[in-house]
């Protein structure tokens, strides 16, 4: 599912449950934050870092334990835990039971959870329209660049 360049401003009214005033728009988390993941046994961790420190409070509000758990669905068998690192503009998630037993037991290609980070960055989030305008495209390689 590629949602690059997809939904623009939704012109939604004031509140969608996140308490934002004014217009909102949908973006993918990949434009708001970068991330790195790793493993400890059968648990994957995903550290999510706001590109812009101004967006850390928004990240904190959007990425609740419930939303992250719902995003991964059956990919995470156990609980999701969240830790806050405001000093690094970052959140750390522990995804328990995400690695098919972990280590050498796991049959998964990603047995060490190396790319759970980008799986989380697929999440679609609703943000104030001005934030969407500012960040859209931030996390993707610009057309014409790269190798």
């Amino acid at each position: 599912m590629d949602t690059r360049g997809a939904p623009g401003p939704a012109s939604a009214p004031a509140s969608d449950g996140f308490g934002f005033e004014g217009e909102t728009a949908r973006i993918q988390l990949v434009d708001l934050a970068h991330a790195r993941s790793g493993d400890k046994g059968d648990t994957a961790n995903v550290g999510v870092i706001a590109y812009d420190s101004r967006d850390y409070p928004l990240l904190r509000e959007l990425l609740t334990v419930e939303r992250v758990k719902a995003h991964f669905g059956a990919m995470v068998a156990g609980e999701v835990e969240r830790f806050e690192l405001p000093n690094l503009h970052a959140l750390n998630f522990l995804l328990h039971g995400a690695l098919g037993g972990g280590g050498t037991v796991s049959l998964m290609t990603d047995a060490q959870g190396k790319v759970f980070s980008t799986a989380l960055l697929r999440m679609e989030v609703e943000v104030p329209a001005e934030v969407a305008t500012r960040v859209r495209g931030r996390g993707r390689m610009p057309a014409g660049e790269g190798p």
Binding site: S37, G47, G103, L107, S117, M141
Partner: protein, 471 residues
């Protein structure tokens, strides 16, 4: 020549002492040229190299059971043969856990390498032993150390007869001892990754286990160094397409001061980037609860860390807080837990994904009809859903190609062995447009499962020993 004497000669008295600790390897299999670049590319006092991951110890134990002189990172002695003369000349001391399950065997190989490199009579190798609990395991269990699994709570007795290796994660105290006794190379078994960096800092600045905040900063420095170039641009997601010169990426270097503050940097002229976001990514790698990063020597809190870019490729790190270590050491235990195998085939357009899924259904039905039972069968389409699962959505019909990957796991070897004979037949007895089977039958792999446990420090620490070998 030790780094202490070297620095006294090169640093004016008025300037505060700076200790430079470079990272040379982030795992067994990392860039072989990186340690050479580190010792030749600029000033350095210590080179730390982390060779061990959770599963590495059991692999080494297996190698040692076949050949008693094996059981350590084989790459390390030839590397020392290359860099030993330069290290001595520049006063760079090497600290590494390359010893694996046979630190003394590794030490002897390093002595040989040193002599071959022409440094005989001029160097010392310090070898740390005592982390290996394998021979003491039954005594420990009999003595009431149950070694319960940290997640499930099950006692180790349940799998005792299948245990292949058991090593305590030890801290920096024996590393400091080896440095104090003049070791130019310090070799350990399962010391923690971070101790390889903060051990030299304890030695240089006279920190003890009671200097909680200094040690916490040392742990952060160790966490940054322990994965090699992951802290200097490697595997960094942030603006990855702008990362320069990765063919000769500079591995991270910690420039530490006695107050615990340090700067992360790399040698001039090397590739990669040391920036606030790159270092942040590494700080979060394999992070658990950031308020309690537990090591044998201190419990560090990462939530007070400040990162400041103080120059090109220079990030200053301050603010970690520490508190007293726990009464326990973590133990890394590996035990045999069945068998697995992975088979793959490639399907081409049109309807590549549908063909691959059809093949998987046929394969599963055949395995069922053979009466084979597995603990798990996993089917992935590499090129579509193998890493992001259902989040990838349904594959488009015009997908150019996809690799079918089928993995199975069972307690007994027999069903896994039979599975490996059922992949190739699909080429002529299944869906069309299939290729990529030239590698032969899949290999049956024995699974070494990981059993993390805790043990009281007094059951291990009195057994730690440092031996100095003269090259």
């Amino acid at each position: 020549m030790t780094s202490d004497s070297n620095r006294e000669a090169s640093t004016p008295r008025s300037e505060p002492k700076v200790v430079r600790i470079g990272s040379g390897q982030g795992f067994w299999g990392d860039d072989l040229e990186a340690p050479v670049r580190q010792v030749e590319g600029g000033p350095l006092d210590y080179l730390m190299m982390d060779y061990l991951a959770e599963v590495t110890m059991s692999i080494m134990q297996k190698q040692r059971s076949r050949r008693p002189e094996a059981g350590f990172a084989r790459d390390f002695p030839p590397l020392m043969e290359r860099i030993f003369p330069t290290c001595l000349e520049k006063g760079v001391r090497v600290v590494t856990n390359a010893g694996g399950v046979n630190p003394l065997g590794c030490g002897e190989a390093v002595v040989e390498a040193g002599r071959a490199a022409g440094v005989g009579g001029r160097a010392r190798v310090g070898v740390v032993t005592g982390d290996d609990l394998m021979e003491r395991l039954d005594d420990l269990l009999a003595g009431g150390h149950e070694l319960r699994h940290m997640e499930t709570g099950a006692p180790l007795a349940e799998v005792r007869d299948r245990v292949e290796s058991a090593n305590a994660y030890i801290g920096a105290v024996p590393i400091v001892e080896a440095l104090r006794r003049g070791a130019d190379v310090v070799l350990t078994g399962r010391s923690t990754d971070t101790a390889l960096t903060y051990g030299p800092l304890m030695h240089e600045f006279g920190w003890s286990r009671g200097d909680h905040h200094h040690l916490a900063q040392g742990v952060v420095a160790g966490h940054i160094n322990e994965c090699g170039a992951q802290a200097s641009g490697g595997n960094a997601l942030v603006d990855w397409w702008t990362m320069p010169g990765m063919e000769e990426v500079g591995f991270p270097i910690i420039e530490a001061r006695s107050d615990g503050s340090f700067v992360v940097t790399k040698h001039p002229g090397t590739g990669g980037r040391v920036s606030r976001p790159v270092v942040t990514e590494q700080l979060l790698y394999e992070m658990g609860d950031p308020t309690e990063y537990i090591t044998p020597d201190v419990v560090a809190d990462f939530t007070g860390i400040s990162l400041d870019e103080v120059g090109p490729d220079r990030v200053r790190v301050t603010g970690a807080r520490g508190r007293e270590a726990t009464e326990f050491l973590k133990v890394s235990i590996a035990y045999a837990d069945g068998y697995k195998a992975v088979g793959t085939l490639v399907y081409a357009w049109p309807d590549a994904a549908a063909k691959a899924r059809s093949a998987a259904r046929i394969l599963q039905a055949r395995l069922d009809r053979l009466g084979l039972s597995f603990d798990e069968v996993r089917i992935e389409l590499v090129g579509w859903d193998s890493t992001h699962g259902h989040l990838a959505g349904p594959p488009p019909a015009d997908l150019p190609e996809v690799q079918l990957r089928v993995a199975v796991r069972a307690r007994e070897a027999a069903p896994v062995e039979r599975f490996t004979r059922e992949i190739a037949p699909l080429v002529l007895t299944g869906p069309p447009s299939v290729t990529g089977f030239a590698g032969g039958r899949p290999r049956v792999q024995e699974i070494m499962a990981y059993w993390p446990a805790l043990i009281r420090k007094e059951a291990v620490e009195p057994h730690l020993d440092v031996r100095i070998l003269e090259v």
